[in-house]
């Protein structure tokens, strides 16, 4: 019983697109006619995305060394995003799926039209469009709905950042680490998505009894992680232990920043935060309120 994709306008004017496990919140800013065209463009592109991905799903879940290159536009974005990380880490294209979908829909919105700003938020993985002189302020909320931001970054059109992504053990995707949330700013949403996954995996205390793990295939027979043990619960950790785990994650984030793959990252375990990169720390500050919507939304975009 295939339920068709859904679109609807939220009360505040944003659009919500839904299909199977995908939920997108999108918004465009500019002339009314351009905004409406952008929404129509997003819907037109979105309608077939899940089917396209599913057609190549086994390929996208496989180790790219053993598989030929995918053909779909989103799938190619996924493969390209994980490629630069793969020299040092195991990663399948699925690590970038959420960011790649966001990017693809954003491109459909912006191509051939003049928009001041636009974003596509795919469950916390966000693709941004900024015309010259425009900015987005991005709050990182690791306690959804609570008006306490652990960090706030302003992304300027002059910055390289056009993607934001978050990963952690409690999210819908599996994580090998103990991070509650790792948020990454990068040049694209798909690269941010892949990097967030790797950095969240690195935030860890190997062998610690409070971090409970189960082979991924026992939870999901089709998981691309196979026998790899994924985190299913994180018990109490001491401050020192959290600092040790964060230090490993920070080292991973710095590795990718040194290679120019990410701009900045904010890492969170319990009440403790680790920060990497000027774009976060330069703009970091407390902001008074949070704009928040959506189940997994760890970001506020305005």
């Amino acid at each position: 019983m295939r339920a068709p994709p859904q679109q609807r306008r939220l009360a505040d004017g944003r659009m919500h697109l839904h299909d199977g496990p995908i939920d997108l919140i999108i918004e465009a800013f500019g002339e009314t006619s351009a905004v409406e065209e952008a929404y129509a463009g997003a819907w037109g592109r979105f309608a077939t995305i899940l089917d396209e991905l599913c057609a190549e799903l086994p390929l996208l879940r496989a180790d790219p060394r053993d598989a030929h290159a995918p053909r779909g536009a989103v799938a190619r974005r996924m493969a390209a995003a994980v490629a630069p990380f793969r020299a040092r880490r195991f990663l399948t294209p699925m690590a970038a799926v959420a960011g790649a979908v966001a990017e693809e829909v954003l491109e459909a919105m912006t191509t051939g039209r003049k928009l001041a700003r636009a974003y596509v938020n795919n469950g916390g993985d966000i693709a941004l469009h900024l015309s010259p002189g425009e900015t987005f302020s991005i709050g990182i909320v690791d306690r959804p709905d609570r008006p306490i931001l652990s960090a706030c970054a302003t992304v300027d059109a002059a910055d390289r950042v056009r993607g934001v992504a978050t990963s952690g053990w409690q999210g819908r995707s599996f994580s090998l680490g103990a991070a509650d949330a790792v948020t990454v700013l990068a040049a694209s949403a798909s690269v941010a998505d892949a990097a967030a996954t790797l950095i969240a995996n690195a935030v860890d205390i190997p062998g610690h009894p409070a971090i409970r793990r189960t082979p991924a295939c026992d939870l999901d027979p089709q998981s691309d992680l196979g026998e790899r043990r994924v985190t299913v619960a994180v018990g109490p950790l001491t401050r020192d232990e959290i600092n040790r785990a964060l230090a490993l994650g920070v080292a991973e984030a710095e590795l990718w920043r040194d290679r120019g793959l990410i701009e900045a990252a904010a890492l969170r375990v319990g009440e403790q935060t680790g920060l990497v990169g000027a774009a976060v720390s330069r703009y970091l500050g407390r902001v008074p309120t949070v704009v928040h919507n959506g189940e997994k939304a760890l970001h506020a975009v305005s």
Binding site: R2, H16, H18, G20, P21, P144, P147, D220, P221, E295
Partner: protein
Amino acid sequence: MSEVGDKIRCDACPVLCYIRPGMTGACDRYANRDGQLVRVDPHVLLDRALSEGGKVVPFVNAEAAWSGDILRRPGPLVTAVGAGTTYPDYKPAPFIVSSKVDGVDMVTVVTEGIYSYCGVKLKIDTDRHLGAECAIVRAEGEPVGHVTTGEYGSQMLSLGGVNHLTHGGKKEGRVTCDTLLNLCNGKPVELVVDGGATVIVQAGKAPIINGKLEERMRVGCGSATIGMFAKQWGDKVDEVVVVDDHITGVLSEHQAGKLLGMRDTGIRMKGRRSTPGRYFHVAEPGTGWGGTNVSDPLDIIAGFNPKVARSGMTMLMVSTTGEQHAFFRLGEDLRPIEAELPEALRESVERISENCEPALCSVLFMAGAGGSLRAGVTENPVRLTRSVRQALTTVTAGGAPVTVWPGGGITFMVDVTLLPENSFGYVPTPAIVAPIEFTLRLDDYAALGGHVDEVRPLEEVVAEHAQRPNAIFSNGVVARSVGARRKA
């Protein structure tokens, strides 16, 4: 859906997840339960007859003529348990059912609500001090609610609400959600009150306070107990003190004792005298005698006036449940010395116990349906609210009657023991998922902008479900009478 080993393949979307037993697919909306593809909650058609006994309804033979008077007459009721959420909201609720009754079409709009604004009101029958008013109530160390008012023979707790669900820490939200879910589904939950007691609560069961099962609810306050039993004491004992943290009663000073011609005993109580024979604050609140912190009842007596008291005088001290009692005789120095309780008084103590009702925990789920779920019912949500206000639309939760609060929105409360088993679910937002049904006349439904095109006759829904029993009655779940839950 197809099976591969113990896994099943979900066909709800093109991801076509293989799902292991006990797990959900990528969307968290469909699950494998014992080899069957199910929504997380079973879909339940209820016989809404309020009779006892858990009678199973033969769906295929369900009477075609459905009583329109949903709350008062027997007949099948389609409930929203496991109806499937209608997210995004504008999709018509999955079951909009009509049936002709006396020429008037009735519609039940069946949906599951996702409530970020919800909680439970807990009434715990006990005299014991659970904690100070406003004290934080914790589960797994996380704040999930607070102590609110003391009521007659019971203590109220308020748990959940949007502030704990979403404004606290991530763990606070998750633990609050778990706590609400377990309480609503009739499971036991351990709660710890800051500076107070540890209590295990379960809907419809006696509370366990600091490891001790609370068996009885007090017969009345100390003063009321004096009033009720004065006649049985008047000629058998010189003094009776009913120990109660709220209002301790002293028979010889009390109006009831005076009327029986009882003489002064010269007793001097601690605490503050309110009116004759009624004392406030004789000790600190606690889990000892009558909800005080005393384990030796003599601690609440300051002494006896030597000008009035005489040696050999007798005194009964008893708590408001009769659970604790002691008998004393004054010695030469006018100090009370414990003695064996005379048979004649034992009876009166037992009668206090006998007159106590069993102590129970009651759980009312409270939630606001004023938000977007109304969009599944009508294209013009505020009209639904108005229609409920005007009593044109009846609201039920899993077939159970609800109390709708006056004022804005559709904020309701329902006794969780009246819903079918495991009617409540959750989403990791976090929020509680609970069934809700709106029943109204078809013409009223059309007038308020309802999804009239989606209305289906009851017979069709019943017949369809009879053909697909696994989709509805997964795991052998069958419809039960409303109110039959947990009464066996």
